[in-house]
């Protein structure tokens, strides 16, 4: 019998720093909710909106797999591994923080906001050598098909991290039913509704709702026209 958890968009914690508005699906920063800590290895799902020209000053990370997915606009990234890059909508960035890195990221555009997802997964190895990777995935997108954008295996072509996780993303311009088969029976699937609406099994989802399901081999996702979805398959025990 599968198990599930629903996190509606409205139930997320919100922090407003003026230049940054962030919606936290799970406890983050000073916001602590013992009922909302994580979904398996998925520990942070922040839906961030950054004003033009503003951003996060230099700050450290260690022992975390940090994934950024811009949804609109562009971010300028600089880190202590001498990476300087701009990431924009249609791209994904991963950092394995490992033994420790510093980085900063700013909205590249002075006059328009940037929206991006900041996702943190617990690593399956502590104290790895830090690494950075960035990839454009939108060039390979097929309309109405889920596209893998992250995996644990460098040979799979997408960006990779130190965790047995797989991310898929898709835009739908038609109604469609898709069966998602989990790669591992010990994994769960966290569905984040980026735009529009869908149903996962019998659960209806609206924009920015999150829904986790585990103890199942397969999940049926029925998407509405105009929807966009991110699927995050992660270990429930890591």
């Amino acid at each position: 019998m599968s198990k599930s958890v629903l996190h509606t968009a409205e139930s997320r914690d919100k922090s407003d720093h003026g230049w940054l508005k962030s919606y936290h699906t799970f406890s983050f920063g000073g916001n602590y909710n013992p009922e909302r800590i994580q979904f398996g290895a998925l520990r942070v799902l922040n839906d961030d909106w950054v004003n033009g020209g503003m951003g996060f000053g230099e700050h450290p990370h260690d022992n975390m797999e940090i994934i950024s997915i811009p949804l609109s606009g562009a971010l300028q990234h600089e880190d202590s591994m001498n990476n300087i890059a701009v990431i924009e909508s249609g791209e994904i960035q991963v950092m394995s923080a490992g033994t420790g890195i510093y980085h900063k990221e700013f909205n590249k555009n002075e006059n328009e906001p940037a929206a991006f997802l900041q996702i943190w997964l617990f690593p399956n190895q502590r104290n790895v050598e830090p690494r950075y990777q960035q990839q454009r995935y939108s060039d390979r997108s097929i309309p109405n098909e889920f596209q893998q954008i992250l995996s644990p295996d460098p040979s799979e072509g997408s960006v990779w991290i130190y965790q047995n996780a797989w991310f898929n993303i898709a835009d739908f311009d038609m109604e469609k039913s898709t069966d998602y088969k989990l790669k591992n029976k010990d994994n769960g699937l966290y569905v984040f509704m980026l735009k529009g609406s869908a149903s996962v099994g019998t659960q209806a989802l609206n924009e920015r709702d999150g829904y986790g399901i585990w103890d199942t081999d397969e999940v049926t996702i029925r998407t509405a026209k105009g929807s966009k979805i991110l699927l995050m398959e992660v270990p429930m025990n890591y």
């Binding site: 920063g29 520990r43 022992n63 975390m64 420790g100």
Partner: protein, 100 residues
């Protein structure tokens, strides 16, 4: 009010300073940093810590030795891994470890 004494072990000095600063910014907590196994063991003997946060950088055998020795000294003090290196997860880790 008595502050919660927290020992943070991390070999990355800048990250260690950041975590101590973040903990000290909370008026109910006080952080003490150790950047090596030896320093952590020495500090643990001299201060009544209520929590140990195990950050990045120790070798696996050093982590094992640290946990073994701390448990031998005082099994009641929780030892938890710290992830993330900054403020994102820090206070949740502390509150969870202290059962709040």
């Amino acid at each position: 009010m008595e502050k919660t004494e927290i020992l943070i072990v991390c070999t990355h000095d800048e990250i260690l300073k950041t975590i101590v600063r973040l903990i000290d910014s909370n008026s109910t907590m006080h952080g003490t940093g150790a950047n090596s196994l030896e320093q952590a063991l020495t500090l643990f003997k001299s201060t009544a810590f209520q929590l140990v946060l195990l950050g990045a950088g120790l070798e696996p055998q050093e982590e094992e030795e640290l946990i073994l020795n701390l448990n031998r000294s005082n099994r009641k003090v929780p030892i938890v891994y710290h992830y993330g290196g900054g403020s994102g997860l820090l206070f949740t880790e502390i509150y969870q470890a202290l059962g709040k």
